[in-house]
Symmetry: C2
Subunit: 423 residues, 2 copies
Amino acid sequence: MALADPSTDARLLVERLAREGRGAQATLAGMDSRARADALLAAAETLRADEAAILSANAADVAAGEAAGLTGAMLDRLRLDPSRLAGIADAVAAVAGLPDPVGEVISRDERPNGLVLERVRIPIGLIGIIYESRPNVTADAAALCVKVGNAVLLRGGSEAVHSNRAIHAAMVRGLASAGVPAAAVQLVPTQDRAAVGAMLAAAGLIDMIVPRGGKGLVARVQADARVPVLAHLDGLCHTYVHAAADPAMARRIALDAKLRRTGICGAMETLLVDAAFPDTPALLGDLLDAGCELRGDARAQAIDPRIAPASDEDWETEYLDTILSVAVVDGPEAAMAHIARHGSHHTDAIVTGDERVARQFLTQVDSAIVMHNASSQFADGGEFGLGAEIGIATGRLHARGPVALEGLTTYKWLVLGSGQVRG
Amino acid sequence: MALADPSTDARLLVERLAREGRGAQATLAGMDSRARADALLAAAETLRADEAAILSANAADVAAGEAAGLTGAMLDRLRLDPSRLAGIADAVAAVAGLPDPVGEVISRDERPNGLVLERVRIPIGLIGIIYESRPNVTADAAALCVKVGNAVLLRGGSEAVHSNRAIHAAMVRGLASAGVPAAAVQLVPTQDRAAVGAMLAAAGLIDMIVPRGGKGLVARVQADARVPVLAHLDGLCHTYVHAAADPAMARRIALDAKLRRTGICGAMETLLVDAAFPDTPALLGDLLDAGCELRGDARAQAIDPRIAPASDEDWETEYLDTILSVAVVDGPEAAMAHIARHGSHHTDAIVTGDERVARQFLTQVDSAIVMHNASSQFADGGEFGLGAEIGIATGRLHARGPVALEGLTTYKWLVLGSGQVRG
């Protein structure tokens, strides 16, 4: 309830920041696309120029994190070095170079009365980003927002507070040198948790919130926000190996989907194998031999003694680890029913040589991303050719799947007349 | 708070209806476009066939409304006659004939690794409609939702309860005759107000809510909903007559924008006249002569003694009546500042012969619809060539301005591979 009922101080702070951000956004939207891109290139340069200050601030965060007993994984997410910082600056420069969707005419129509109607892509306005310990989000999210003319209000985790401030200061200096008002990219100046609640409650002031972090953060944001949220809670990705799958392809895809990287939201968490697929022992054997723990239903367990029993909970667990649940299913309908019951509408895949079955699966599976004969690890904005992503969304409105620059825009209607009245 | 905390009974009822609706939606989405259109044509026929039953039910509502002392305007919105009912059936048939956006490939891209990415338009899922006394909404909203494969949960006003039930029964019978499950179009079977609160709270069960009715209803829905809402609260539409406006065109547009119909959301509510526009006395005189009450700032009042003083409140009042606020402004910047301060982001227009100034206005005014040399009364889905509209939205995400079939869809990503792994 603390989040839903922020203190007056936090509310007033966020209101002030949001109003300043919205004012700056009008200026940013008035700059042409080239000027915004140049400003991002300038910000990439100041990020490089401030290497010493940023790494020193980061060292303070890491030292504090070690003293506070953060886990190795958390410290790794927090830690910067010259190479990682160069990567952050490079990413900002890369965003500068992406095509800008703002100004695109989405549709154009001339009515019989001569009115011309255009839908034109414009920035959304002010985007709130609430994130945890990765300081690169400060630069990545700011760059994506600024590229398409949005202002951004950043609220990073307290573990990374010094790193975030140093990165923010460098970016704002670079952007300002190219005419972007400082308030276009703001970092909430307090770690008071009530500020997060105030952001979530700021309907009409903040146009959209993107949470970046673990499931706990995303769940809290989704539960409490009165502002639209772009996010996914789970990436409970299924791969269904159909009877007509090419065995070698199925084995290659299963290994990659599960084990290439286990910690990403596109990693396979449940493998559904058709009872009529002829090569299941080898398929499961590959995964077991590669060190993956398998938890199966009774039919899967019967295939290999190394397979442990799956509990009900396993079918709805995003392991993000070298663990996989496996069920043997009788045909596509059973596979799709399993996905409908247990899935998270993120990414689900079928492996089959039967185009008719593939089309049925692609049509009927209700997920943001549905794949045929590909590894679910491709669920990524970069792999989709979007250049970068602000996040992956499993909601049904506005933008779904990997959300990049276009998802950070909206549109308005222009009506171009020559004196028409409705009469 | 009653709305935000519905009774357990209401919550369970809405959960059951929503689950049934979602189940039916899967069937509806699996029908091809032609089958859904044919089902709507069948529903139009059953609406016509049930004329006697529907008009009899409506007579009961009208009699109850008269006994309850409803105003003449409310009774008029409620009342059906053979001609109005035929219009409702015709509208359902017209929706059947519109192009179906479902299945459209929004974008297609082939990656260097051979993966083909398609974004394909799909239904949203389950749409909630909360409306007041107009029984035609029952048929209109259901037709638009069904056309693109959405299920719909309808909650009409208690004044129209018998009319809504009769219209709903006729539609469901027609739809069912063509294979659409009854639960695809459901009418909440109770007038218990807690059911509205339960709909607003049904995040994850209802995908989007569209309120149709007065400002009180829309404000309550926007304040309490945890489900995304598509709506506009105010239509505080401005027309700015620039110095370089053609005087005859400006006078024609102003009369139409204000007086063609005063009760629609696209009606002009504030006229901004540039101090350098040479024909202001005639422009204002036309409106006064036509019976419009003008409330002006000091400079406007100085032009015609019939102009009353405007209070601060007038600049933010949607009159929906033969009343207009008028301010004299010094140039486009002042006009746009007035709109930014007082507007509702619905529809704003400029009249000018200066293309550069027009382009500036079209770019900088932050409204869902921005017009040049046209009457704001064109802010309407039919006039935009969309065939019909579910509503006009002033939010910034998903869909803006007149929202028709496309706004009732979303998309998913299809990834078509040939065995690709990320490796």
